[in-house]
Symmetry: C2
Subunit: 290 residues, 2 copies
């Protein structure tokens, strides 16, 4: 019956917002996508690449009449965006986000969004270390798990509408508790980015770095890849998920000390530890990655 | 004057030995490459792929009449190979290796190789996490730095002959002191592989792993890539370079604790730490990587 095109708004047009726009325009061409970035040249670029159909000069304006609003800014900007768009949101509108931590975002939604909208926290498990609209790709979310954290107040119908859209984009929606989400991603996403960055500082701050730099190869490049990510986004993640992250740093430190002891002891138990890690990773690759 | 083809022997036909054979046959087609692996089926495979021209059933036999011998086994097998081939090596022959640590190998060469051969330690700064002859590629060493650790006794002429061959293969030979080499690679190569493996054990041993496994994505995959490497080779590396490696683990642990404090403190200094790491890595990528 309702044949009018879905009106989707994307606030924040970086790697994630830009890729989302491109994916929507590719998979749901009938949707009308409105976009807002605090940087006008980014909005222009999103218009030119076809990631959005309409650009607005304020976040509030972009949210008017929207059926679904995606907030795709770094975590700590989400709160301000909620406050700004709250008066503009129409009754029954779905609001979601793509930030890497969910517990605080859920609290902000309760506090700052009107009760007549449906908020569902979101987090696509995809990304790359290059930030910004120029790195956006329509296929970034292809086959990725997209975490969703609805609250008890969210209507089932709105969850269904959002998951239907996300499935059309080729993603795999997964319902999860926000606190649980934050604990899990602290281990498989936030801990790795801290290890990557700490490895870079530890080596590049050394007085041996100039000599080491010539020898560093693909192994160093890959383990440090996440260190080239957006420091603003990383900081926001850490500041909104510090409890889980410090817990994982402590677990990791214990594990590193175990490896240190095995290296210093110089016996065959070290080989078993390496084998065990290899088998666990290979098993994960086989069952969870394409 | 001397128009007879160079006779090159490769002992150990895994990823490195196999790739070396393919690279030599591609860049110096006139060379006659003899190969030995302790596994007969590996020798057969090397013959079929064209990585070697002749296969032998003993290491000693493979070294007879060789102008240059490459020992491409894991570090701790190098000593036995030296003892085995010593009686077969002809006067003036060049012996080199490709093991990831150099100080112990240099001592073994003095102890177990005859004085009438020229030993030059070697270590190509290339590799991948997949082991074995089936992963071998003619282009594996393309543009890679190839560390060489000649001793005071090595003739200059033999160093020149080896570097000429390595340049023909597209590599960049670099002379370096063995102990210095081991200290530097402990930071940019051995520390990363331990971090990678420790991250895998720390996460996969957790009672949360089944849930985390579904969410782990490209970031986790890349930071843990080295954990899929050959555990035998890794163990040999650690046992022959434990002093430098434990030193780097200690440096890294301090740096990780600095990040932990910044995360727990929750202030903007964390953003600076991430930015600094990003800039240092990007600078390295720009000046040292293609």
């Amino acid at each position: 019956m309702n044949k009018r095109p879905t009106r989707i708004t994307i606030i924040g047009l970086g790697l994630i917002g830009g890729s989302l726009g491109l994916a929507i325009k590719k998979s749901v061409p009938s949707a009308v996508v409105t976009g807002y970035s605090r940087t006008a040249s980014t909005t222009d670029r999103a218009l030119r690449t076809g990631a959005i159909d309409i650009g607005t000069s304020t976040a509030e304006h972009s949210a008017l009449k929207a059926d679904i609003v995606f907030v795709c800014t770094p975590v700590r900007a989400v709160k301000d965006i909620f406050c700004t768009i709250a008066p503009a949101l129409k009754r029954g509108c779905i609001v979601t986000d793509t930030a890497s931590t969910k517990a605080e975002v859920m609290e902000w939604a309760v506090k700052y969004l009107p009760a007549h909208v449906n908020f569902i926290g979101g987090h696509p498990m995809a990304g790359k270390e290059v930030a910004g609209i120029d790195a956006a790709e329509a296929t970034l979310f292809q086959n990725c798990v997209w975490c969703l954290t609805p609250s008890a107040e969210t209507s089932l119908d709105s969850v269904k509408r959002l998951t239907t859209l996300l499935r059309k984009l080729g993603t795999r929606p997964l319902m999860i508790d926000p606190a649980r989400h934050d604990l899990l991603v602290a281990g498989i996403s936030h801990l790795p980015l801290i290890l990557s960055s700490a490895l870079v500082s530890c080596t590049t701050r050394s007085e041996l770095w100039n000599e080491m730099a010539r020898l560093a190869s693909t192994g160093y490049r890959d383990v440090t890849r996440l260190a080239s990510g957006d420091s603003r986004i990383y900081t926001d993640i850490c500041l909104t998920n510090w409890q889980s992250i410090t817990r994982w740093i402590d677990d990791f430190s214990k594990e590193l000390q175990r490896f240190r002891r095995l290296v210093a002891d110089g016996n065959e138990a070290l080989c078993e530890a390496f084998s065990e890690a290899r088998e666990a990773r290979d098993k994960w690759l086989k069952s969870h990655r394409q």
